[in-house]
Symmetry: C2
Subunit: 255 residues, 2 copies
């Protein structure tokens, strides 16, 4: 008998061509579907809360799927983790109402973007941080980040060629903070966390690229407001590279 | 004109067959020598402060070499880092007296061993931590660690088949402490740092394996003393796996 499952998964995106299945490419969705099909002896499709790009990581991606698995959900996690490659881990499995849908029902998402500012390149951080050679002002970035919070039109932060019906989103938080590091030679670690009711394509990476322009002194904090006002992608800063980005959490208040 | 250089390097040992050059194998020493030879247009040999095993990492390995390089040492670091693979980084280069020798002159070394206790497997920690499924007592391990400190005969913690002339070493510190983690699902992070005037082969990993036996409750803290007294490898706990081990620092008080 098929039941609907909600899985919470973590992955290191480094060696994948992103979330979505593509023929001949290693993808997160493809690896998950393969493991699920092996466990349940039937072809299984999964729906992720959203696609992540090549190189982007997840700590709390959520997927829904329908599955022939009669055991305890915890045993499903164990079974999947023995089949999955080491860089994808099922953190939690639960049985959920049949009408649960990982995209449609997602109310909020939180992303983190990690920077390494200064210091030498680190063999241990290279996959997880965008390294900036010059110093940046976290205070200036905090000031700039305030313009991002609220219900706004984020058209200027949307990748061209991936337009959505509406470009209005509500950002609940845009926090910039220093993290501590074990090794001093690795410079200063800065993280930017953004939580919203939805994100446009490349929105986090485009916001981060613009905040860095402010942090480095090339632009003033108020510049962020003028980007929003322009509703034009070409006005904003460059897109930050994918490997600093983590999907932290997806919230489903009704599930 | 040849000068003698002291290089401080970091590496992720995951994909290497250890430090020492072996035909047909990827090694840290081999990769370094290749980069140095390319920069100076001559065959270069390097001497490391000690060998690290396959899978073991370094944050502050020190090497000495003689080289035809007339520029600023900082430019040597830059030149080497453009030639080296991403998982090996030269953190610092300096010109040093010609009689400097990275093994002979090393006065102290400090290693760190990283554990993940409980929690789910993490795609981001899997290369850098030995994951223990059951909880351990850090207090008991701290108590056990006290027996390690001092000038002692560590014959019981030496890998068989790698005997040295003398098995007496002075351990200056053996610290066990909890570290904080970003993600709560990754369990508790525990680190063990050991500093000594020298180490026998596999000594850190054998001590860690024994401390974990105490932490898990299988043995009492005093058991460590009885291992030392026995001077017999077969009495001690299992050898901890290589991927949790980091060579943190090598001290040269006269250089």
């Amino acid at each position: 008998m098929q039941r609907t499952f909600k899985l919470t998964i973590a992955y290191e995106g480094t060696r994948y061509s992103g979330w979505q299945v593509q023929p001949g490419e290693a993808t997160i969705q493809g690896a998950l579907q393969e493991a699920l099909s092996a466990v349940s002896n039937e072809p299984v499709s999964v729906i992720g809360s959203g696609r992540t790009d090549a190189g982007v990581h997840a700590i709390g991606q959520v997927v829904s799927c329908r599955l022939n698995f009669s055991g305890d959900p915890e045993r499903l996690s164990l079974a999947l983790n023995t089949k999955l490659p080491e860089d994808i881990v099922v953190r939690d499995s639960e049985v959920i109402q049949d009408d649960f849908h990982a995209i449609r029902d997602a109310a909020r998402k939180r992303y983190r973007y990690q920077l390494q500012v200064g210091g030498v390149s680190s063999p241990f951080q290279r996959r997880y941080r965008w390294r900036l050679r010059k110093s940046i002002s976290v205070n200036r970035m905090c000031e700039a980040a305030k313009y991002i919070v609220g219900e706004k039109d984020f058209a200027s932060f949307q990748a061209t060629g991936a337009e959505r019906k509406t470009t209005i989103r509500t950002v609940y938080a845009c926090d910039v903070f220093e993290q501590s590091y074990l090794e001093s030679s690795e410079g200063v670690s800065v993280a930017i966390e953004i939580e919203a009711n939805g994100f446009l394509y490349n929105m986090v990476r485009n916001i981060v690229g613009s905040l860095v322009e402010v942090g480095s002194g090339k632009q003033k904090p108020e510049w962020i407001q003028s980007i929003l006002d322009a509703k034009d992608r070409s006005i904003a800063g460059p897109t930050a590279p994918p490997h600093g980005l983590f999907l932290l959490r997806v919230d489903y208040p009704d599930h």
